[in-house]
Amino acid sequence: MDLLNALVAFLNFVFIPALAYGSQLALGALGATLIYGILRFSNFAHGETMAFGTAITILLTFGLQALGITFGPLPTALIALPLAIAATALLLLGTDRLVYRFYRDAKAAPTILVIVSLGVMFIMSAITRFLVGVEDIAFADGERFVVTARGFRDWSGLEEGLAIRSTQVITVVVAGIAVALLFWFLNRTRTGKSMRAFSDNEDLALLSGINPNRVVAVTWVIVAALATTAGVLYGLDKSFKAFTYFQLLLPIFAAAVVGGLGNPLGAIAGGFVIAFSEVMVTYAWRQVVAYALPGDWAPAGLLQIMSTEYKFAVSFAILIIVLLFKPTGLFKGQSV
């Protein structure tokens, strides 16, 4: 029985990956939930928005690397990130002006806006593919590990190694900063409060003199920042592939719904709920259990509840359970 090794294995294979993945999902879900709260539709182009922002980051990163500019031990992509956010914001604002605004003025039904977002999804996915193609792209550079497995073993004397990749640390730190900034903005600034007011009660917000076009524009800019950051962090942590980002839509929506659509705090909680469930259900627990059990009680099987390919089933199952038992989500979401 070796609880310490079991704990290290758990941290290494479950907790840290899930924490990083959860941060990425939380940022993605925050964007989706903000659009739902302010513009009142589920944006199916959200995954493609993340992909677009990441694609711009990749191009800028390659450009910077070609110029010989790097960020030392940190990934060059972090230098490119602000510019990519600006580009994504321009794309989203342009899309709003050309596409969504018309339906907003016409007071179109939410489902119509969802279908419109399908059209936007097609176009954005084409643009992303034009820019960087469909292949896997790894664009993380700089230091690969903060803690290496070997270094940890030498330091601790334990059998089990603990590896912390720098992208995981960067993900958690950047996501933390982004969330703190967002909540400061929403709760402390005049514009942020007007966004919450608009989300709460659109008619009364209009009566109070809040300019809807400004609220919407600010929302798109924030969504661009969140989506690009989420996409870049995910791409750094794993790799970039256009289609993978479309598939992120399901866990992101699941996170937003689980937390309560339109509720930012809920989106963050939902992101971690989904990420931890996904990793824990698809992880083969044999090693952890073998350490935790006394003597030679080591289990024969892999102790994997589901194979990794079924990770979507986890998001989906949680989504269905929440929909059946608490349709407004863990935190109270909007009931439009």
């Binding site: 539709f41 589920s42 199916f44 596409v99 018309f102 939410p110 489902t111 119509i112 969802v114 279908i115 419109v116 399908l118 059209g119 936007v120 999804m121 097609f122 176009i123 954005m124 996915s125 084409a126 643009i127 593919r129 034009f130 193609g133 289609f243 479309f246 598939q247 839509l249 399901l250 929506f253 699941a254 719904v257 659509l261 509840i305 194979s307 390919e309 079924y310 979507f312 089933a313 998001s315 989906f316 989504l319 269905i320 929909l323 059946l324 349709p327 439009v336």
Partner: protein, 448 residues
């Protein structure tokens, strides 16, 4: 349908006389004939055959969205299930697999179903509360573990049976035409389960739930090799029409081809496609007829009444959720039939090739562009959008070819442009969808 009121008949015949749909269909036919002249008849027939299948899928989605306002973005899943149906019905059974693993897998699946059933029973019978939640959790987890314990050894045994060519149970070895309704049934069954859980919730939730179920169905098809060989693909699904090779060896067919002045190889490929076209057209027309009858029946009017004002319809005593479930199952079944037909046409099931953009969202473009709520519109949209989908890439290639002649040879832009033409179709579909939604939101042939 003797109950169709006179007024409805009169109105439909009056609008049936309207020239617009006829002209649009003629224009569509002209596009296909033009394609035949430019790209060859074999190509044109390929387009028509997939166009027929696309039209059927569009009909299914139109039934759900156009009639009932149900937002199903899991079309891909139902299409794939239809394809699975084709494998399970038409492929010859693998006797050895049944011997080594049939019992265990069967028992495992029964245990799985029992677990789900007992969960449902607990949920409906037991008083809500912590105890009920705990019992459900225990039954769910326990049932799943027992199921896996029974199932897994069977699966391993089955997948070990000649893995290069079988490694699965095979099918029932029945005529492949039976696979089409079977595919529909399979999709209908899945739709019933999904509908039972997700219908009655908000439309966004149904969309997200269906998006998820489609991904899960695909994950099952890709990973459960014992079922349909997963990504190893099932090939050689029997064809309902004669094979090209057989035709080329038939002296009668060769003689007839010669009398038309066509060589036997070309003639056989064309003839096989024409036969498929005939079969598909029969299915499409039958489904179109049924859908039209349904639309005009009291049932169809009730559906549209519910779509237009759910609250009022519910207040008049209509069971909205039950009606939605009906139409959700029917529409999904039609998508399943189309999926089975497609797999039959290809002669293979390739789970890796199913992509939501192609099998879900493209179908949506067809319905919206054609005219949601109008069956003729959906069918036209199916043909038109499919034609565009296949024609845009060669068009883009030609266009980029012209551009790259102006560039120096070996320019990196040239190769980039060649890659880019593959993505032109996504751009085109997005632009068309947005333009139609903006400037003609009721589609090419609007609902009457």
């Amino acid at each position: 349908m003797t109950t169709v009121p006179q007024a409805t008949l009169a109105r439909s015949s009056a609008s049936g006389a309207s020239l617009r749909p006829v002209l649009l269909y003629l224009a569509m036919a002209a596009l296909i004939v033009g394609t035949g002249f430019v790209m060859g008849w074999n190509y044109a027939l390929t387009v028509v055959n997939m166009g027929l299948i696309s039209a059927i899928m569009a009909l299914g989605v139109n039934l759900q969205w156009g009639f009932a306002g149900l937002f199903n973005v899991g079309v891909m899943g139902f299409v794939a299930l239809g394809g699975l149906g084709a494998v399970l019905v038409a492929m010859p059974p693998v006797a050895e697999a049944w011997v080594v693993g049939g019992g265990r897998v069967g028992a495992g699946l029964v245990l799985g179903v029992l677990t789900v059933v007992s969960l449902v029973v607990i949920r409906t019978r037991m008083a809500r509360g912590q105890l009920a939640t705990f019992v459900m959790l225990a039954v769910g987890v326990g049932g799943y573990l027992v199921m896996r314990a029974v199932l897994d050894p069977g699966v391993i045994a089955v997948e070990a049976v000649n893995p290069a060519s079988t490694g699965y149970f095979g099918g029932l070895g029945l005529p492949v035409l039976l696979a089409w309704p079977a595919g529909g049934l399979l999709a209908a069954g899945a739709a019933w389960i999904i509908g039972k859980t997700a219908l009655g919730l908000r439309s966004d939730y149904l969309a997200i739930a269906t998006l998820g179920i489609a991904e899960i169905i695909l994950a099952v098809l890709k990973n459960e090799d014992w079922l349909a060989r997963g990504v190893k693909n099932v090939v050689g699904i029997p064809s309902p029409v004669p094979q090209e090779i057989a035709l080329q060896q038939d002296p009668g067919f060769v003689a007839r081809a010669a009398s038309f002045g066509v060589d036997p190889v070309t003639a056989s490929t064309l003839w096989v496609k024409v036969l498929y076209m005939g079969l598909f057209a029969v299915v499409l027309l039958a489904l179109l007829l049924l859908a039209q009858l349904a639309l005009r029946s009291p049932w169809g009017r009730m559906m549209r009444a519910i779509r237009d004002n759910e609250v009022a319809a519910a207040a008049m005593g209509k069971d909205v959720t039950a009606r939605h479930l009906q139409i959700f199952v029917l529409g999904s079944a039609i998508c399943g039939i189309a999926g089975a037909m497609m797999v039959t046409l290809d002669g293979q099931l390739t789970p890796g090739s199913y992509q939501p953009l192609r099998y879900t969202f493209l179908i949506w473009v067809m319905v919206i562009v054609g005219g949601s709520g109008n069956n003729w519109g959906a069918v036209l949209g199916g043909f038109l959008i499919w034609w565009l989908w296949v024609i845009v890439e060669p068009l883009g290639n030609a266009l980029f070819g012209v551009i790259s002649t102006t560039l120096p040879a070996g320019s990196p832009i040239t190769s980039h442009l060649q890659d880019a033409s593959a993505h032109m179709r996504l751009l085109t579909m997005g632009v068309i969808l947005l333009l139609v939604l903006r400037f003609s939101p009721r589609g090419l042939i609007p609902e009457k």
